[in-house]
Subunit: 396 residues, 2 copies
């Protein structure tokens, strides 16, 4: 099974928007075991879009087309797909009504433009999931298929996860229900994980169901995807749950979360559960931790903020630098848990990449000294994820 | 003149790396007035790379090929280009020597693998700029050309700016020296700028040299590129300088910087010059300002950090919230200048998107109330750039 991604939008070619959607889709396809050999970006031009879609369809079994489903004149993905199908567009009144109600619920009136979004190529149908006002499209062509999803990331993701990925798996010859779960790990290499899981992988290879796939996500760790098939959804879910338990038993707390969880969401969820709160002392990390935490807790209900500074621990040496910083932020914010990462003082004879971590929980001080790779920018990002992972483990 | 971008690397298809290089190259091409209709990502597979290069060369006049110039087995861009050219690879001993010296200067020994990087398709030549160990390639084919640049961003950028963009401009029929400068603006729309500059654009249209191009960069503002041609470099630079002055006279302080400058680099440069220092009070902005500032001032020499909190100004209402926050951070850090952006208190009857800005410089308080668009995440980013722009103007 091969699937290509065609990203649509002149703004992508002009570099006004970085095409993160294709990267995300590429990752999902890889985790689902679907080959993807090409990704193309093309502008809002009917002829060139048609060319790209035809070519993608020729060399692959499926095409995911992202963007160009909006209500403006530039949004011509529907037209391009209809041309490739040799079909007309037909307005779907059920979708018109759905869009109308969506506008109404936001206290706005649907314009005539928006009706256009309900145009579906004859022979295709809308994707059932529709989190925004743009319906996705499912358009079979011969034995192949074009899917179209909006460029709005959360809309695209919901359609991918709920409809397109399962549909692709079913199309790849499997009548069964297919479900998967991603276990996110941090702190081990791909070869390391493969070694630890070698025995289980052998067992699964023989059984054939469920299957495991690994995917590196750079500084954010490694993902292990479990894919299960069964005749019924509840059976598939049972297989996933059983396998997750087995893998958790083998890998232990290297696993920090599943599916859409992130290191910071796991920490904040745990703290919320415990009716506890967090603050940060940022020197080396320079605001990166806070910006990640406030992105998911913008009202700062569990994350209480912190201090960005190089100076309060200036006089300290060694791990005391991080402890001092963490305590200082804790005192300033009144939070229950405080985390800090600092570099050694320049006078300390420490090897390059040495970072002190300190986490204060109530009256308890926890410290670690780690050696991290990379230039300043990478070191900073490694420090953030190392410190958050340390915090996660202590809270567990 | 049409130019396509082919990004090479299986890691791009798998979503392990987001392809920001193509976006950047796309923007540079647009600013240089070169059309780019397609961008393709392809994995490290000789046959598929060859296919993509041939196709790109067929529909465009030039192809920029990014990535796959490293020393490992995966790095086969050289081979793919040689195949397209129908040429052999020949080792360039001058380049081997250059690479050897580069390793030596870093106290390392060149491995045999690295020699491979000096293989050049016969008929092509290395790009003169070589900031890393991977030489770029300039490979004319008939009347067309393939350029190859490494995937390492700073290496790619230097080759693009110093060699490829001028070379493309010369190939587009111009024998002259071509130089350009980007003026970065913030606070006006594309149509607004075009209107203000209408008269000057008319004058330039008639003269034909220099030329102006506009490019939107989303939340970071709008860029105006001046491109000048002349027989000699110093003439071209003179034309650029004269035109920059004219446009600065027309646009005034909407222009915040040129070329590689950013809003935050301009602020920090100015403060450094004044031997002054900066701190931030982040509530709405949640650490984003600090992370941008520490990215370019990691040792926090001019940027002194700040406070991330929702609480110190809890009791305040209206613009006092931002003033209180800014003063609080100033007191905590001892910096000369403090900036803050806050939301109104929930009890205030303010329209959605209202943001209070306060900047304290010494004893002087400066405040503004702005209405910003978007959901929480966008509002936050708009608040960051609005506040930084306000700060820049006050410091000027």
């Amino acid at each position: 099974m091969r699937c290509e991604v065609v990203a649509i939008g002149t703004e992508l070619l002009l570099g006004q928007i970085v095409d993160t959607n294709s990267s995300w889709i590429g990752e999902q396809l890889a985790l689902t075991g679907i080959d993807s050999h090409f990704q193309v970006k093309v502008g809002d031009n009917l002829e060139r879009m048609e060319f790209c879609l035809r070519q993608a369809l020729e060399r692959s079994d499926a095409v995911i087309c992202c963007g160009g489903l909006g209500p403006t004149q530039d949004d011509i993905t529907r037209d391009a797909i209809a041309k490739v199908m040799g079909a007309d567009l037909q307005r779907d009144e059920v979708i018109v009504e759905k869009i109308r109600r969506m506008f109404e619920s936001r206290g706005r009136t649907m314009t005539d433009n928006n009706r256009k979004q309900a145009d579906i190529p004859v022979g295709g149908r809308p994707i059932p999931q529709m989190p925004g006002t743009a319906p996705g499209l499912y358009c079979p062509i011969g034995g192949k298929v074009i899917y179209a999803v909006p460029g709005v990331p959360y809309e695209m993701r919901e359609m991918m996860q709920e409809f397109i990925l399962p549909n692709l798996q079913e199309r790849s010859g499997q009548k069964a229900v297919i479900r998967s779960r991603v276990l996110k790990t941090w702190g081990n290499t791909e070869s390391g994980l493969a070694e630890i899981l070698a025995e289980e992988i052998n067992v699964l290879d023989e059984k054939g169901n469920p299957t495991l796939a690994f995917l590196a996500s750079g500084i954010e760790g490694l993902k292990v995807r479990i894919t299960a098939k069964a005749e019924q959804e509840n059976e598939a879910e049972k297989i996933l749950a059983d396998e997750e338990e087995k893998i958790r038993n083998i890998l232990g707390d290297v696993i920090f979360g599943i599916d859409e969880q992130t290191m910071e969401s796991v920490i904040l969820d745990k703290l919320r559960q415990d009716e506890s709160s967090l603050c940060v002392a940022e020197s080396l990390t320079g605001g990166v931790m806070a910006s990640r935490l406030t992105a998911i807790d913008p009202k700062m209900e569990t994350f209480k903020g912190g201090v960005i500074s190089q100076t309060p621990f200036e006089e300290e040496r060694g791990i005391n630098r991080a402890i001092y910083a963490a305590k200082d932020a804790k005192k300033t914010t009144g939070a229950d848990v405080s985390v800090a990462a600092t570099l050694p003082h320049p006078s300390e004879e420490k090897s390059k990449g040495t970072v002190y971590l300190a986490i204060v929980i109530g009256d308890q001080e926890h410290t670690d000294e780690v050696a991290l790779p990379g230039d300043r920018q990478r070191l900073r990002n490694y420090a953030v994820i190392s410190l958050m992972n340390y915090c996660r483990k202590l809270l567990a």
